[in-house]
Symmetry: C2
Subunit: 199 residues, 2 copies
């Protein structure tokens, strides 16, 4: 199973792709950060993000996308941009029939380090170890995206996924085989469900 | 000039298309509401919104999109869905090279009724009058989307547009002629600027 982790943001949007291996292991496929210019208007920045994010979906064809669940925090101006970027990424993935899982920062930290209050350094260190990287992932910002992808891989298989609905097709998602259309069976079912609700 | 007004929302997303006429008049082209099922997961709902919104862009080819500017309010759970839906709509329009203007609810109310505190009935009544409709627009929810489109038409030409950057290309946007590519000159310039920033 290939997971694309997304740490959403308007100025910096972290992305990390991993492939699952047997026995809860995983390997890194790609890591990066989408950036947009703070001096551009919000619409131009979201348009750029859309283009760049779709390019990653084209290039890496993930089976599932894991996005950090956004909560309201103190800095309202930042949170709106983050929510808008996350909505865009989620919508672009879902329209392709790719299931999207959402995890809070503390769920991610707990899954990766054992503690929901771990700091950035701990998360980066564990990501480096789990993915058997020679050095911490660069750019540093993208470590969270990789951590989200790992978190989804581990939490996704557990009871109590934070994604309502996503758990339903889990057996299908775990038995992944690419078929004629280039979509996995789970993706085809997802796409079909999407079509159904659209009627 | 054709304006698509968007009142963003995850459960109900109001859309209204108007064409400008000489002497600050305008005519309604289309009005509707995109709906998604509250029982579906957020990713499926955003995927559906993406599909439906792109269809409106295909069908009506607006020169500009006007979106309600989202602020944090008390109900955080609602505001996140609204922000995500607005981010998606803005990103999908901008990637096509369509400029997006944003207006707050009180800017819209002031532009339409003369008072930033007007209620829904007043806005609907004024929209009906301005667009010379035989009856209030249906569905009622979409009156706000039409009002946003009218607001953009009027405020857009005024000094102090709430959209940084959008005012710069206003002379071009007002001298609209469709050219070879089906894009207006302003849209072509916008698309080019988007490309530039991407490099």
């Amino acid at each position: 199973m290939r997971v694309l982790g997304v740490d959403p943001g308007l100025t910096r949007c972290g992305l990390g792709v991993i492939d699952s291996l047997p026995s809860r292991r995983a390997t890194m496929v790609a890591v990066g950060v989408l950036r947009t210019d703070k001096n551009s208007s919000v619409d131009v920045r979201l348009g750029e993000l859309a283009e760049q994010f779709d390019q990653w979906l084209d290039d890496y064809r993930p089976d599932v996308v894991a996005v950090e669940r956004v909560f309201a925090r103190h800095d309202v101006s930042t949170i709106m941009g983050t929510a808008q970027a996350s909505g865009l990424a989620i919508g672009l993935a879902a329209r392709r029939g790719i299931p999207v899982g959402m995890h809070t920062p503390s769920e991610m930290k707990a899954a990766i380090t054992g503690s929901g209050r771990a700091d950035k350094a701990q998360v980066t260190a564990m990501v480096t170890r789990i993915l058997k990287l020679d050095a911490p992932p660069k750019p540093a910002d993208a470590a969270d995206a990789l951590a989200l992808a790992i978190c989804h891989l581990w939490r996704g298989a557990a009871v109590g996924s934070s994604t309502p609905g996503a758990a339903k097709d889990l057996p299908d998602r775990l038995g992944l085989r690419r078929e004629g259309s280039g979509l996995t069976r789970a993706q085809q079912q997802w796409a079909q469900a999407l079509k159904q609700t659209r009627k």
